[in-house]
Assembly symmetry: D2
Homo-oligomer: 399 residues x 4
């Protein structure tokens, strides 16, 4: 029987803080009563700075981040529209699949899993798009499968450099609330988040922020939509409600989570995620392991995907951690299955938790046969946390 | 400041039992871990008898009942398909709107709000459909807006009598789990429920049961779908998982709620709903009020919509109940706004709660100026609950 | 299987409000950390106005109100000391037993169960106490067994009229927080409460307020005490802590409950208890039943003890309510067993809950064979709640 | 603002497992209803094997372990009785103080804080007690202040060797439920535990197990007692209830905690505590620190008290851990204040948590100026947890 805290280091759902958990324990309430608006409005208002926006409108979409991805598409585009995107991990691949399933023409730039969105190639394609056929560029801000953060601002520069007016859609599911996201500054038109990552709530809500340009594009979009009708939801929110019965308990949780984020201060939240991530990365490097992220310059501050040494099945590592140590790591997805495991380090986290993650990873790797030195990783992280070391250079994995 | 129990008599979300509430207070967990299937499978298995099916496959769709409505359409039909349905309340109207938004050709039979699905007219239309253009018949089993239950079995008979092979889709959101639902026996092809009514959980999950015929129809359906891809979700469920991060806390709640339902015994659950509804209806009649349901023979056992006397604004009644007595009634929807209020009497309910509902309704009606005799309604309900009276005939409202 | 809300009408523990329940769901914490004082101090400060005191010091005694009763004795008196008290119900009887067990010489004034503390007789005894042998007078402010409130202020007048300097100890377990209590004004020296009645928390804390005179008396008290050492606990509280590991979750609950009480306003809390009690009493009278309280002038606003008609076993009434209607009434205690049942109407309560109490009492009485008219009691209460009636005179029971 | 899990390593209250926390979220209930016994009985039955007894009777005493200490005294002894005990830490000192406060004549054997109960000296004193004046021997099984476990079985041997019939009282507050306790085998007459240590619940219940001999001694005990009247409580428990309103939520928690302990299996629970403690001790030794426990042979498996190096204030270490790392260590008590800090490693614990404890202790010690090598302790613990090392010898601290 497993005992003690279940150490959860998957990159979402993340650990729900005690006060957020508590806030969700509510009797059911009438979602059509006037009081409901008093619950919804501060949630919408509190989300705006987290998205880095004053101009966008925010919709809460019961379902998940996937629902918000779909809503971004079906409310602004039309069947046959061309969109441009990089595919460099499981989640960008799934978004591309969705776009195709919804009838878009998806121009895909395939790069290595472990690379970020290739901005120069994006710029080249945009520049080549003489007739402005590309209606939108999709960017996966943080590829949760590979632990790679892409430079959304640079994509904006690319668009501007080409005087291209494509919409810019960004999947921020595993970034928003944990690392800087500047919707207005970067000119993002549709930004997608979920309740269960940096926002520290259970899954169940997709969150979509739409820029004025995106709202304008909705006028000319005629894809079939009903459950995910963004215009209807925004109008309902305006009146303090939802189009249908919402998961009110998640709104209570989100309100409490936003209070936490703003109490800590977003700058401090981001700095903390960076510090903790540096510790994890220092630990990984000290163990002689490589990350899936090809270079530390775009290594994600919310999740680290770690390659297991040759001959060591990452699934075995994960299984040992789970069954012996009550510790949960993320698995390698798609082509990384068995080759990598992931440590999520986002949301409500601190130094002690990261030490546990590394310490149990070491024990599990060793038990699985990997030639790691027990304590090496955790010690490196401690030096980071003690402020004594800069994170060492990572060995860059050859794909 | 309001004190005491908040008495919730809206027809959903319903009161969450203490043990279901407790079951949902869980640390986050890895939805890709092997243990997750051990949570999901009993939920799927426990739902089947609630839907009255052995043959159907069940999908849990994060979102709401509305999501399940849409999934029923987009996974089995094609744009331009003709569907037949009655419109006799807010929810049948919304479903019709959705069907149109998704590109279906909707043949609507408009009948009075307060009438059930007009089976003879349905049969007539089916009989007239010589070329089998009608691909599906939609039935709102329980119109939550009017408190009217329709006879799904009779619609099946109509289909059979016409040798018509249209699919039969049923909205059971406010019926399933509270009143008998016989999916297999009635030949229902798509049945839709939600977590927040008879299943006594918070909102957040739509539930869709698909018959073998519906599953077969999926082969020929090509509507764009991704978030609500039923085939993908059923395959994921088969492996003990979801297509994307699910609201796991609701699965814990649903498991506990199903344990309650099956411990009580479905027959007893249905009998209880009928007994309590009879009490509420007896009370309404004793107060000299009429129900929106035109005849008691199709009055719903889960919700009663009550017309306020001429000159009495139902919104005022609702507001008094809420602000003075911490009691929540449902409002009149659409054309019934201001003309009716609703008492939801479904889910985790007992006699004492129904007495509160009637007692506070009396006080609120009187305070709003209605000529009701305090105590008359509640006394009539007590006689029902004491087993001393049969429910008296209701006055049937002229529309 | 019982369904729906469990209607709890015992006179404690009372219904815990949702926000108080939520506040108690806390991770364990270090009770020796500096933060702990930040939890304790507002609880102590918030209790003072509830006790009607600025001068007293308050101690939280893990255990129960019984612990606080004992601490009041063992910290201020000495073995052999004479104390004067009336015995007119189960709880005054138990306190007398305790005083004897602790070695006091207890001069008991026995009056009927249903009568209040006989102030004139108290005054007579005090006047006759020429040598000042009576060291303390014990008053049970609210006899929970009989539903009778005694006049503490009048006892103070009696003491003053006799120029008697006995200490005045008051059991306010079922009164404090629900009806006016004026510790300073009445010159109460030791006032005892518990967490589980008007303070709306679970049981587990006795609360003791000690006047400056009581604190002075502690100098000369030499009874053995350790767990209940009041001086040590007050000193610990002064430093923000306890003498031993406290039930911290109850402090979180108490803080939330005090926030509720002060948000509602104590005057409003007391008015509400009176209004609801008037409704219950009107209902009892309308049913032709008599209360154990001999006269409405001293009928308690927190609990009503109701005599069952001749030949009707109150235990049967209680059992029917519990097993058929998921409703819990208090039993008759001691000589009242089988002859009376009690409706607690204190703490977090509203009109709808009182209607349920009366409605289910009617159904249960009738099922047990009592000749009550269904609806009569509840209707009378509704008229009180609607502001249309004054509470009618109660028939006074001959003991 | 502190983020992430609050890492709690005080030696009680301990971390409450999620399922125990959940079990305590209950509506209030009638403690006099027949159902209440169904809650109490399995708790009493489940506790017996944890105490290692079939013969003893168990009483749950609302309050704390301190209350149970007192009840053990006041229900079996008389003022003036002589008792024999060692004083070798804060908790044995407090128990001695209590015994004196309650009027006992306490023969104290003072030994170093860090030593266990000196069994030979106990035996010498018993042998010297020709007239059998010693009525009871008190043993602190696990001195929580020093992290020292005493050999209760050896004290029994001493009693038997001297043919002495003194009662044997044992404080098992921080041992019972975590390390082996054999009440029957060791001939313990009164064993004391609390809800908040190995039993993984919040504080609020003292637990007292009384042997048949202790029960017999109650016949001749005449100390004043009322709140802590053991005979009355045992009689109440026999009937499924308490003498006064109990903290029912703790009973729900205790039932869930006992289910956990018995599901894991007591042998496994004890083995786990030993393994984790070995890891912590290996870590402490690797850091070059000494424990307060003078020899590893009696080092406690539930708490380790660690001396800070000369010149390093342990309070500073604790403060750094709390304010920078959201981690809570126990302080040095009494003469150990500032000289030692304590890591509680009992209750619901696993390897990852112990790694955090050591890792944060290292960071905090270093930040406070101690010459520790980051990672050294944690690495040593990992080797223990990996099964690769035996715990190294500890340096024995010179007092």
């Amino acid at each position: 029987m497993l005992t003690g805290t279940a150490h959860l280091f998957i990159p979402g759902p993340t650990n729900v803080p005690a006060d957020v958990q508590r806030a969700m324990i509510v009797p059911m309430q009438d979602h059509r009563a006037p009081e409901f608006g008093a619950l919804l409005q501060p949630v919408l208002a509190g989300l705006k700075p987290v998205f880095g926006t004053r101009e966008a409108q925010i919709a809460l979409l019961p379902g998940s981040g996937t629902a918000a991805w779909e809503a971004a598409i079906t409310n602004t585009l039309n069947a046959g529209d061309k969109v441009l995107m990089a595919r460099h991990g499981q989640f960008s691949a799934l978004w591309a699949d969705m776009a195709q399933a919804m009838g878009l023409q998806v121009e895909i730039i395939d790069v290595a899993w472990g690379a970020p969105c290739p901005v120069r190639e994006v710029e080249r394609r945009l520049g080549a798009d003489r007739h402005g056929e590309i209606r939108a560029v999709f960017v996966t801000h943080n590829e949760t499968a590979t632990g790679v953060t892409s430079d959304v601002g640079a994509v904006r520069h690319a668009l501007d450099a080409c005087f291209h007016d494509a919409l810019l859609f960004v999947d921020g599911v595993s970034s928003i609330g944990s690392i800087p996201f500047e919707m207005d500054q970067w000119g993002v038109d549709m930004a997608v988040a979920g309740s269960q990552k940096g926002l520290m709530c259970p899954a169940g809500l997709g969150i979509l922020a739409a820029s004025p340009r995106a709202l304008a594009a909705m006028e000319n979009s005629h894809m079939p939509r009903s459950f995910l009708n963004l215009r209807a939801m925004l109008a309902a929110h305006e009146g303090g409600s939802f189009c249908f019965t919402p998961p009110a308990q998640l709104l209570h949780g989100l309100r409490a989570a936003l209070t936490r984020l703003h109490s800590e201060g977003l700058e401090n939240v981001f700095a903390r995620h960076h510090r903790l991530a540096e510790g994890v990365r220092a630990g990984v490097a000290a163990l002689g392991l490589s990350t899936v992220a090809e270079h530390r310059i775009f290594a994600s501050d919310t999740v680290t995907a770690i390659r297991t040494p040759h001959g060591i099945d990452a699934r075995e590592v994960i299984s040992i951690a789970r069954t012996r140590y009550n510790t949960h790591f993320g698995g390698g997805l798609g082509p990384l299955a068995g080759k990598a495991f992931r440590i999520g380090h986002l949301g409500d986290l601190n130094e002690g938790m990261c030490l546990t993650a590394l310490g149990i990873a070491e024990l599990s790797l060793k038990a699985a046969g990997a030639p790691v030195t027990l304590g090496a990783g955790i010690t490196a992280a401690q030096h980071i946390f003690a402020g004594e070391a800069q994170a060492p250079a990572l060995s860059i994995a050859a794909e």
